[in-house]
């Protein structure tokens, strides 16, 4: 093989060719385009959902029917679903938060390093399990295990409306769904909290310990004040995830009309599971109703997530973390 390019040509003057400059422009253009695509996609999500749900939101204007199919008005149809979604998610948050904060503290401040790393892996493992598997587990294993607990709750705490009514015999209730959701959002809250706890300035911690504080006092004095906003926002992010979780609830819950009782089967429903159960067979107005319900879910989760991000960004400015 003879030298094809031989000695690479040397430029002796500044006014040479500008070879490859087009590459720069093409590539930066491509990168910018990708960013624009993302913004467009998000805009489309909102616009498409809105367009497709208009017939259900204002049937008099946007469809040839006077009202929607499942109820007189859309709000009548959607409020029990929204209530069910919120109740299940709040149960999940109430159950998951203490455990998640505990595990995060365990990893960041209690466990020795040799244990903390595997525990982190285990939590990540929990996050990796597909939601449909959680749903199958909730439906077959957890629901059955919860039945005696429900009977007990009803017997002793039945005077509280939440535990009133006829207790379930299958365990497929909103409370069971909430428990499954709690397990599913546990790793999310845990890993976010762990990050924040680990960012606590070491100097503050050591200062507290040097003053003779016990470990718990040190955590109370330095870690929690530092991490408060972060904990709140990770809870919000977990809430956002729980609100939108579909399969676990769809598999576990046997849905029905709204009820304050959390331990009855055939009561309550959530927006995601309503969509998943009915969308495959829906068409026309019913489809619009479901998409409109999805739009409501989108708006709720959007609000929750934005509040969470807002807390994070506001916190960042004065914490000096990052």
């Amino acid at each position: 093989m003879t030298d094809t390019a031989t000695e690479p040509s040397r430029k002796t003057s500044l006014k040479g060719s500008r070879g490859g400059e087009a590459g720069d422009r093409v590539f930066s253009g491509l990168a910018l385009t990708a960013g624009i695509v993302i913004l467009l996609v998000l805009a489309f999500v909102a616009v498409f959902l809105l367009i497709e749900s208009l017939p259900a939101l204002w049937p008099e204007v946007f469809s040839d029917q006077d009202s929607i199919e499942s109820a007189d008005t859309f709000w009548q149809y959607v409020w029990p679903l929204m209530a069910g979604t919120l109740i299940a998610s709040i149960i999940a948050i109430l159950l998951a938060t203490p455990v998640a904060v505990g595990i995060a503290l365990y990893i960041s401040h209690y466990a020795p390093r040799s244990i903390a790393t595997p525990v982190g892996y285990v939590i990540d493992l929990l996050a990796a399990i597909p939601s449909v598997v959680f749903g199958a587990w909730g439906m077959t294993v957890l629901a059955g295990a919860m039945v005696p607990i429900y009977a007990w709750l009803n017997e002793y705490l039945g005077w509280i409306p939440l535990f009133g009514g006829t207790p379930t015999t299958t365990g497929r209730t909103l409370l069971t769904s909430g428990v499954v959701l709690a397990v599913m959002i546990l790793p999310i809250i845990t890993s976010l909290c762990r990050e924040i706890f680990l960012q606590t300035p070491k100097l503050h911690e050591e200062a507290a310990l040097a003053l003779g504080a016990t470990r718990w006092e040190m955590i109370k004095m330095t870690v929690f004040p530092f991490a408060r906003a972060g904990i709140v926002s990770s809870i919000m992010l977990g809430l956002g995830r729980a609100l939108g979780e579909t399969m676990a609830v769809t598999l576990v819950l046997s849905p029905g009309i709204f009820s304050w009782s959390l331990i009855q089967s055939g009561r309550n429903a959530t927006i995601p599971s309503e969509i998943a159960l009915n969308f495959p067979e829906a068409f026309g107005m019913r489809q619009s109703e479901l998409i409109a319900a999805g739009l409501m879910l989108f708006i709720i989760t959007l609000a929750v997530n934005m509040v969470a991000r807002w807390i994070v960004s506001r916190h960042k400015e004065f914490s000096g973390a990052n």
Binding site: M1, T2, D3, T4, A5, T6, E7, P8, R10, K11, S13, L14, K15, G16, R18, G20, E21
Partner: protein, 259 residues
């Protein structure tokens, strides 16, 4: 092969902040010129304008003229990439490409630009550049090992070899020894002495002894205070700057009274 550098009324800005003000300097070819001065006095900023590296930072721009053998590198239509092929640069911390072998690091200037060359040409460039950087004997048996496996001083010489491989006219060095131990520093200083046979070398250093050891001429930069622009105070033969400076600030600095 080596070119002279002339700065004419050069100002450097970061956004609205003027970092360096009104630099006029003439740097001879085949010489070593050292820039000294306190931290933040604009010597590194000015160094980076010689190959337009300051433009990498957002909002940075230069006004005035900077001539390479009489050609203005800030003239309209001049491509900064062309300037950088003529003016190489060595950085404060050795920065060999971690994904490349020693050999590929030397050839990076060609390979990254997609230049094709035969193996024999490439071998020639590798050997010549490594010999030029006094590194050939130490690494000739492990050219295919990653460059990050070398010691700090060897890495820095590898970086020098990498920049001379593309045969620039000028080599800029931004505190090239500040991250190295004394023995590695000595090796680099010896190398700088040899490099001036072929290149125009400009070196920024915090170490005044180093400037005195390696530089033919020395430029002293200073700032009046924080928020004020850096200025070129005095530029003369190294012996004059260190033994008989004409400016009071220079005298205070080289005698260790401040900075």
């Amino acid at each position: 092969m080596s070119k002279r550098i002339d700065a004419v009324d050069l100002n450097v800005y970061y956004g609205n902040f003027r970092a360096v003000e009104g630099v006029n300097i003439n740097i001879e070819p085949r010489s070593v010129t050292a820039f000294i001065g306190p931290s933040g006095c604009g010597k590194t900023t000015f160094l980076r304008t010689i190959n337009r590296m300051h433009e990498v930072l957002p909002g940075a721009r230069a006004e005035g003229r900077l001539l390479l053998d009489g050609e203005d590198i800030y003239a309209p239509g001049v491509d900064p990439v062309t300037v950088r092929t003529m003016v190489g640069m060595v950085f404060q911390r050795p920065n060999p490409f971690p994904t490349m072998s020693i050999r590929d690091n030397i050839l990076a200037g060609y390979k990254l630009n997609g230049t094709r060359m035969s193996k024999s040409t490439a071998d020639g460039i590798v050997e010549k550049s490594l010999r030029g950087a006094n590194l050939w004997e130490e690494v000739k048996d492990r050219l295919d090992k990653p460059g990050s496996g070398l010691s700090g001083g060897q890495q820095q010489r590898l970086c020098i070899a990498r920049s001379i491989a593309v045969e620039p006219d000028v080599i800029l060095m931004d505190e090239p020894c500040s991250a190295l131990d004394p023995i590695s520093t000595l090796a680099i200083e010896d190398l700088i002495n040899e490099l001036k046979d072929n290149y125009t070398v400009v070196i920024v250093t915090h170490n005044m002894q180093q400037a005195a050891r390696v530089a033919d001429k020395t430029a002293f930069f200073n700032i009046a205070g924080t928020g004020k622009p850096g200025k070129l105070i005095e530029y003369d033969d190294t012996s004059v700057i260190f033994n008989n400076p004409s400016n009071k600030q220079t005298e205070d600095y080289v005698s260790g009274r401040f900075g």
